[in-house]
Amino acid sequence: MTADAPTAAAPAPATRRTGRVLVRAAPALALVVLALAGPLLAPHPIDTPVTFPYAGPGDGAALGGDQLGRDVLSRLLTGGAPLIATALAIAVVVTAAATALGILAALRPRLGRWIERAADLTILLPSVLAIMLIALAWPAGGRLAVAAAATLLGVPYAVRIVAAAAAPIAAAGYVEAAAAGGERLWHLMVREVLPNLRSTLLALFGLRFVEGVYIVSVAAFLQLGPQPPEADWALMIRENAAGITLNPWAVGAPCLAIGLLAISVNLAAEALAPARPTPETPL
């Protein structure tokens, strides 16, 4: 009986944890769905004036007009999808590349040392400077150039995290047994190591998405990604900053949207991360 007690109690915290993760991830999911469906809900076209410049809320424009008198609400509903899509693409590519390279680095230590050096190198280059450099080298790149810069900068650091998590697994008896049994490298990576990295990879994906939102929005704010007629939250803030006294909503609403997106995604990523191993003794 006493031996059964722990095994019987074990599933309860696990389901509770899954439930908590879902609750914490809900705001982020809701916001992403709203932003992706936003263009369908927009009451006005995004590129024709419906009010006079920087008109306050009212008269069919719930959040007023921007610097050309275009409807702020419609532009707000349209401007999230490209930002989120680019950030998601960056997170997917970085996580996938880091997974492959990180597991490889754990199984082949010599490659691991080179990746360490690359990660040390990217720390010296602030991400904003890197985006500026790529935009300088590839002026026609637009969003693609920003995504390329974010991927290039993000991969070495992400590989370091995956390699650190994969190292103890790669050294585990069953992986060594499979290697000694003549299994191919590919089989070791996909069948032996990968299945044990699920929680690390989920948390990494969440954090890369947060980082993606940061880089893509900062680049747009510096006018390096999307170009003016386009509706984009960060670009809206930059364009309408001059009229902040006339219609605060033209700047405040996209600012609130980016803030809520960043915070909710970060809270979701936090919930996905493995919990702190030992509870603390109160001082």
Partner: protein, 332 residues
């Protein structure tokens, strides 16, 4: 003679024998950081050079003849091979010569005015985020699992995800627009410095708040790791006051992790200043950098990257030093 001297013989000259291996390690770390910096600069130089378009075209007026363009290219030295120009530039660095911009001025002269402003803003932000993170992290550690701990955890998680310009706009709306307490833009005085200290407050807070969030999480995590160690447990069981356990038993051990966190913050702060300076019209290197990008001005961009990279390398080296000292203490 001197080369044959045993290592122990140097100890009486004031250098304790214990830290000698540590000193060697720090010298190796410094050399490694320098090599990494040189590799980064070479990469940056090559990246700008390998792509089409150059400074001669970007800084000339529209409609100049191709002969004029060629003459300008020769004047700027752009007809020489990339490797040669890079070598000239790198060998000039130790003497403080960062080269000449595409508009014919010395890079050091262009950066001399705005760089101290950015340095002031960055240093204040780094100091504020360090102090804030240590205070909040310690406060949370004194009540593990309590309401304060959870509130600080949630707030710091939220804060470090926010881009600096979002924080800027929020602060601008609240502290300038609605209450009128602080000026919304920085006015530059005749000496090239901000006219009043109140103009630094908003840019400073915008930079510091996300970094306080980031560093608070690092301080909190490092202190939680320390709390599990036997000597800390023993101090708690001995009934020492909890503030004393925190300051004398936990913080010293957490220092290496905190130092690395602050060093990585420096890079994020330097990137953030470019954005914040643009929004508040602050007279720093942000505006210079934006102009240099449009002009495809390689020496100017490389100069800014070199200055930023050198600052971050220095802070990482200090973090290395802190770690070496801490590990040395542990070995004793």
């Amino acid at each position: 003679m001197t080369t044959l001297q045993p290592a122990g013989a140097r100890a009486p000259h004031g250098l304790p024998a214990r830290i000698l291996p540590g000193a060697g390690r720090v010298a190796r770390q410094a050399a490694r950081r320098l090599v990494l910096l040189a590799v980064l600069l070479a990469g940056v130089f090559a990246a700008i050079e390998l792509f089409p378009g150059d400074a001669a075209g970007a800084t000339s007026d529209r409609g100049v003849t191709s002969a004029d363009l060629a003459a300008r290219r020769t004047a700027l030295g752009l007809d020489r091979p990339v490797a040669e120009r890079f070598w000239d530039w790198m060998t000039g660095l130790p003497t403080g010569d960062l080269g000449t911009t595409a508009r014919g001025r010395h890079v050091t002269d262009v950066l001399a005015g705005p760089f101290p402003n950015t340095l002031l803003l960055g240093t204040l932000a780094l100091a504020l985020s360090t102090a804030g993170a240590l205070a909040l992290g310690s406060w949370a550690t004194l009540r593990p699992g309590g309401r304060t701990d959870r509130a600080i955890d949630a707030l710091s998680t939220a804060a470090y995800a926010l881009p600096e310009f979002v924080v800027s706009v929020a602060l601008l709306l609240v502290l300038s627009q609605w209450t009128g307490w602080l000026p919304a833009v920085t006015l530059t005085g005749p000496d090239g410095r901000p006219e009043s200290w109140t103009m630094i407050v908003l840019p400073l807070l915008s930079l510091a708040i996300p970094q306080i969030g980031w560093n608070t999480r690092i301080v909190r995590g490092a202190l939680a790791d320390q709390a599990a160690l036997p000597h800390v447990q023993a101090a708690i069981l001995d009934g020492l006051p909890r503030r004393r356990v925190l300051s004398h038993h936990m913080l010293p051990g957490a220092l290496p992790a905190v130092a690395v966190g602050i060093a990585t913050s420096a890079g994020m702060l330097l990137g953030g200043t470019v954005v914040v300076e643009t929004l508040f019209n602050y007279p720093g290197i942000g505006a210079i950098l934006a102009g240099a990008i449009t002009d495809r001005d390689t020496p100017l961009v490389a100069g800014v990257v070199a200055a930023a990279g050198a600052a971050i390398s220095l802070l990482l080296l200090i973090a290395d030093l802190v770690r070496t000292t801490a590990l040395g203490d542990e070995r004793r």
